[in-house]
């Protein structure tokens, strides 16, 4: 753990994530305005005393929209990833622990799903479910699950042959004990690392779906949708695009940096 703190990227990531977390938790409480309220006399203005980050094409306060949007944007990314982590781990750990033909069948199925590229898979599912934040989140988690299942499976497989597991088997511990006390705690590491990095990926996909009109729908304050809608006004006020764009960047970088630092911390092979 001390390794982690010494890693500057990890610290940077943690700081960014803290900012994001604060926005998610307290954003709506500290936002100065209703994010949907129009102030039509001050449209497309840059930062001012009344509106610290400027206003958008309807005169809505950008700072308030960003603060409210933190929840939908981050919840989207974290939620989609968490669902896929849980589902994927269940599938992958089962496959890895049980082995045999169940494992083979599951693997074939995973290979099949993994054959379809992520965004394409998401698009097909979103088209089927209909556009919207919830549907998009479900689509992304379905698309991520096979990957997470693969990782958890290989994680379990590599642990199965570790000394502490073999020792437990030799000791005569029950299957259940081995799984719960030895396998899962040690397999969790790579899963969490992968999950953390995937959150930023999920946020990106969410933003892209908003851009394509298949994700969050107006007037949602989801950051990706804000950027997408703001594009046609960027010549009138670059702030409309820059503010949500930067917010996405901060979140993505935060999760990436933090995830990488986690990976380095968890992996004993990676010596400084």
């Amino acid at each position: 753990m001390s390794d982690f703190v010494r890693h500057p990227a990890g610290v940077a990531g943690a700081i960014l994530l803290t900012i994001i977390a604060l926005a998610v938790l307290f954003g709506p409480l500290v936002a100065p305005y209703d994010p949907q309220a129009f102030h039509t006399t001050v449209r497309l203005q840059g930062p001012s005393a009344d509106h610290w980050l400027g206003t958008d094409q309807f005169g809505r306060d950008l700072l308030s929209r960003i603060l409210f949007g933190a929840r939908s944007t981050i919840a989207f990314g974290v939620g989609a990833t968490m669902i896929s982590v849980i589902a994927g781990s269940l599938i992958g750990v089962t496959a890895g622990v049980v082995g045999g033909w169940i494992d083979s069948v599951i693997m074939r199925g995973l290979d099949g799903m993994l054959a379809v590229p992520d965004l394409l898979f998401v698009l097909l599912i979103v088209t089927m479910l209909g556009a919207g934040t919830g549907e998009a989140m479900l689509a992304v988690s379905i698309a991520f699950t096979p990957g997470m299942a693969r990782i958890s499976r290989s994680s379990v497989l590599s642990i199965r042959t570790r000394e502490y597991v073999l020792a437990a088997v030799a000791r005569g511990e029950s299957q259940r004990y081995i799984i719960l006390s030895e396998v899962i705690p040690n397999a969790i590491g790579p899963i969490i690392v992968e999950g953390t990095i995937r959150v930023s990926f999920a946020i990106m996909i969410g933003a892209t779906l908003g851009f394509l009109g298949m994700g969050a729908q107006p007037p949602s304050t989801e950051w990706g949708l804000m950027v997408s809608e703001a594009r046609q006004f960027m010549y009138r006020s670059p702030w409309v695009v820059a503010v949500p764009g930067l917010a996405i960047a901060v979140a993505a970088m935060g999760f990436n940096l933090f995830g990488d630092a986690l990976r380095d911390a968890f992996d004993p092979r990676r010596s400084r």
Binding site: Q36, A37, F38, T40, R43, Q57, F58, G59, G130, A131, G132, G213, M214, Q217, P218, P219, R231, Q232, F233, Y235, R236
Partner: protein
């Protein structure tokens, strides 16, 4: 530069008698009032590049409706008549027309020696075949809705076509000017559907050279066009840029000569850019709020009126249209239409609206979903604005934006509260029978007002001008009384062309372009 439309000034009888053929360029160009400066002689030659952002999916003139498909078929096909900038029908393939005294039988005389692009001569059989195809449901022809009064179309001789109508309808020359009622050859109609979609064979000033819907469509001059001396251009290219940023970047850099449709947000920038001239035309096209009469809560006129009073129309024009439009007062007819009456202003008064709602039995307001398709995006923008504006009156509106395909499949003509979007029509009858009469083709508000139906039917067959004006005034009063739709504004048509492009105009109907009169002056 704002172009205003002249009112209908012709009397009905003039229209019924049709116009004499004028062989000269000026008269036939259907551009009265917008002619060129006297000392400018059009130069022949050059390629016009038009940038657009929606795919030209088909050239099937019967059922296409895409914004970039209209200029394409305007260049490729001709109709019996064509709407001019004066909003009157002018001779196109029909050099003259006449009708019987009660306007139930029309004879159109076709121009002689007109050939389709493939060389086949135009005869009345082609006209008959076209109109029969329009009536055939399997063809999905959009012009069918304006030609419901046509009982029979027959070829009297090689160059004369007779229309027999079920009712008196003096506006038939306008109806056959419909952008989707262009004349297709009988041979093409009998052939495979794919040819109609991809190998257009018309009589228009340009013919198709290459067609790649994902990229660029190229049309070249039809040397056998039936009007001498035009088109001036050698070729026209329609380039697809799905993304608005890339589209305007290509136009501003000079790579493209024309920006087919300019976004409100960009208009000022495009106008002020060097070498670029933006153009706005006042039009009667609108976004409308559909509130079904046969379902709660809009079955109560007070709720309808309350919502109408909860919309700040001028602000919508300022904020969403950037001033490029005019506030409307729920009358489906814009000031340009003939027989339009003055509609009383509808104030933005949320207090009164709240009171009305309470009177109607909703003292705590109404919570309701408003559906808005994302094509065009202005539907959703207006919905969001309405949501905010109507809040103080007690309307708790949840805007449900969705992709166009979902909207079409699930909500259009089925939902009880959604945003629709319609272009302008040529006549009041056109507007009324499109949406408001009980048997209107795209009727979606369940107004079913027998009185209105009767007035519209009567007006159709009334030759006397002042009587008709009276009837249409009554019809509009009914609309203003019952508010079948909320129509908050009329949206200008916006386009742009670069210096050196002469004669680029757009009609308020947004479906006619007169590209045969465009010429390039690149020095």
């Amino acid at each position: 530069m704002i172009k205003s439309l002249k009112q209908f000034t012709k009397t009905r009888s003039e229209m019924v008698r049709g116009m004499a053929v004028a062989v000269g360029l000026a008269a036939v160009l259907a551009l009265p009032g917008t002619g060129f400066a006297q000392n400018e002689t059009p130069k022949v030659g050059g390629v016009l590049k038009i940038a657009h952002s929606t795919r030209i999916a088909t050239m099937n003139v019967l059922n296409l409706s895409g914004p970039a498909e209209y200029p394409a078929i305007d260049m490729l096909y001709s109709g019996l008549t064509r709407i001019g900038m004066d909003n009157h029908p002018h001779p196109d393939l029909a050099e003259s027309w006449s009708a019987n005294s009660d306007a139930t039988v029309f004879d159109f005389k076709l121009r002689p020696n007109v050939t389709f692009h493939d060389g086949t001569p135009l005869t009345s059989d082609d006209v008959v075949a076209t109109f029969e195809a329009i009536q055939d449901p399997a063809r999905g022809a959009s012009a069918r809705s304006v030609l419901t009064m046509v009982k029979k179309v027959e070829a009297i001789d090689n160059l004369t076509v007779r229309f027999t109508l079920t009712v008196s309808y003096a506006d038939l020359p306008v109806a056959v000017a419909h952008a989707n009622a262009r004349i297709i050859s009988a041979k093409a109609l009998a052939g495979p559907k794919e040819n109609l979609e991809n190998k257009p064979n018309g009589t228009g000033p340009f013919k198709l050279e290459s067609y790649d819907s994902s990229r660029m469509t190229r049309l070249v001059r039809n040397d056998n066009y039936f009007i001498e001396g035009v088109p001036y251009l050698d070729a026209v290219e329609l380039h697809l840029f799905p993304d608005l940023t890339a589209q305007s970047a290509n136009y501003l850099s000079g790579n493209m000569d024309v920006l087919l449709a300019v976004e409100q947000a960009d208009y000022d920038r495009i106008d002020k850019a060097p070498g670029s001239n933006a153009l706005r035309v006042a039009s009667g096209r609108f976004v409308n709020v559909v509130m079904r009469f046969d379902q709660k809560p809009f079955d109560d006129i007070r709720v309808r009126k309350a919502l109408a009073m909860s919309i700040d129309r001028q602000t919508l024009v300022d904020v969403i249209l950037e001033g490029l439009g005019r506030p409307a007062r729920d009358n489906i007819l814009s000031p340009e239409y003939a027989y339009v009456i003055d509609s009383p202003e509808i104030p933005y008064d949320t207090a009164a609206a709240k009171q009305l709602l309470a009177d109607a039995g909703y003292p705590d307001g109404i919570k309701i979903d408003l559906v808005a398709s994302n094509r065009p995006a202005i539907r959703g923008q207006v919905a969001i604005a309405i949501k905010q504006m109507a809040l103080p009156a007690g309307f708790d509106i949840n805007v449900k934006s969705m992709p166009h395909d979902t909207y079409l499949a699930n909500y259009w003509r089925k939902g009880n509260f959604y945003m629709a979007y319609w272009g302008m029509r040529s006549t009041p009858d056109g507007a009324f029978t499109l949406l408001l009469t009980s048997d209107a083709s795209y009727e979606d508000t369940a107004w079913n007002n027998k009185e209105f139906d009767a007035i519209v039917a009567k007006a159709r067959s009334t030759p006397d001008d002042s009587e008709r004006a009276q009837l249409y005034a009554e019809a509009q009063k009914l609309i203003l009384r019952d508010t079948p739709y909320i129509i908050p504004f009329f949206q200008d048509v916006l386009t742009a062309s670069r210096d050196g492009v002469k004669g680029w105009v757009v009609h308020p109907l947004n479906r006619v372009y007169y590209i045969e009169s465009v010429w390039l002056d690149r020095n």
